[in-house]
Symmetry: C2
Subunit: 161 residues, 2 copies
C-alpha cells in the first residue's frame, strides 16, 4: 500500500544520517597534534582554495569581521599553519596562505573524516552502495538546482576510484 517513499520518510532518514555523520566527524576533530578551533578550521578551508587572498576578502568569504579574522590568523600563524606575507603590489595588504604544515594538517583531517565514513560504507554490499550513490546524486543535483550558489562542495580528495 506504499509503492514509493513519501517525502517525510526521506526527511526522517536523511536527518538521522546527517546527524550521525556530524557526530562522527566531531570525534575526528581532536585527534591532532595541534588542536585547532572550528573557526580556525574554517579559515584553513577557505585559504586552501583561495591562497594569497588578503584579509578583507577572507573575511567576506567567512562572513566575519576583519578584526575577528585578524585574530584568527594571529593564532594560526602562531602554530605555524598560516603564512602572512606582504603583498608585492600593495604595501597595505597582506597575502594569506597556508603553510606546508597547514596543508598537511588538512589532508590528515580529511583522511580521518573519510576513514570514519569508509568504515561504514565498506560494510555495505555493492548493490547497496550503488543504490546509495544513485539516491544521493539525485539529491545533490536537486539541491544544486534549488540553491545553485550555496553548495558546499568539497572537491579536494574527490577522485573517483
Amino acid at each position: 500500500m506504499r509503492p514509493h517513499a513519501g517525502v517525510d520518510d526521506v526527511l526522517q532518514v536523511l536527518t538521522q544520517v546527517v546527524e550521525q555523520i556530524e557526530v562522527m566527524w566531531e570525534r575526528s576533530k581532536d585527534v591532532s597534534p595541534a588542536p585547532i578551533s572550528v573557526s580556525q578550521l574554517r579559515v584553513m578551508f577557505v585559504l586552501e582554495k583561495s591562497s594569497g587572498t588578503n584579509l578583507r576578502a577572507l573575511g567576506e568569504a567567512l562572513d566575519a569581521a576583519p578584526s575577528s579574522v585578524s585574530r584568527l590568523c594571529d593564532r594560526l600563524q602562531a602554530v605555524g599553519f598560516l603564512d602572512r606575507a606582504l603583498s608585492p603590489t600593495s604595501r597595505r595588504e597582506v597575502e594569506l596562505s597556508l603553510s606546508e604544515r597547514g596543508r598537511a594538517y588538512l589532508l590528515d583531517l580529511r583522511e580521518r573524516r573519510r576513514e570514519h565514513l569508509r568504515e561504514i560504507v565498506g560494510e555495505l554490499p555493492p548493490a547497496a552502495r550503488s543504490t546509495l550513490v544513485s539516491g544521493l546524486r539525485k539529491f545533490r543535483d536537486a539541491a544544486t538546482s534549488v540553491h545553485p550558489l550555496e553548495d558546499g562542495h568539497d572537491e579536494a580528495g574527490s577522485q573517483s576510484a
Copy 2:
C-alpha cells in the same frame, strides 16, 4: 566496466550532500526572534529529551564543565527558554527544563530545517525518493551497527506519512 559503485564514489557524494545540508541548516539558524547560540541550542536539545535533570548530568551529556553549563543556563533562563526549579528531593540540586516558549522555539527551528530539505526532496520523483530512502536506511543501519552508542537520532517529528 563498473557494475557497482565503489566505496570512494559513495564517500565523495555522501560528503558533498552532508556539506550541502550543513550549509542549508546554518542558514535557518538566525531566523528567530531571540537568536540562540550553538551552545545554547545544544543545551535545549538535551533538555528536550531529559527534562528535569540536574546541572551535573546536563554537563556530562554535553561533555562540558558545570560552570559552563551554569552560564549557558543563565542566558537561556534570561530569554525565557529555560526553567530552573529547586529539586524537591535534594535542596542542593536544581531541576532544569525547557519552558513552553523554549519548546515552541525548538519546534519552530526544526520546522525551518525540514522545510529546507523538503524543498529539495519534493523535487525528486517518487522512484528517486524510494532509492534515496533505501540507500540511506542501509547506511544508517550500518552506521548504527558499527557505532551502536553514538547515533545522533532525532526522534522528534519523525512520524512517517
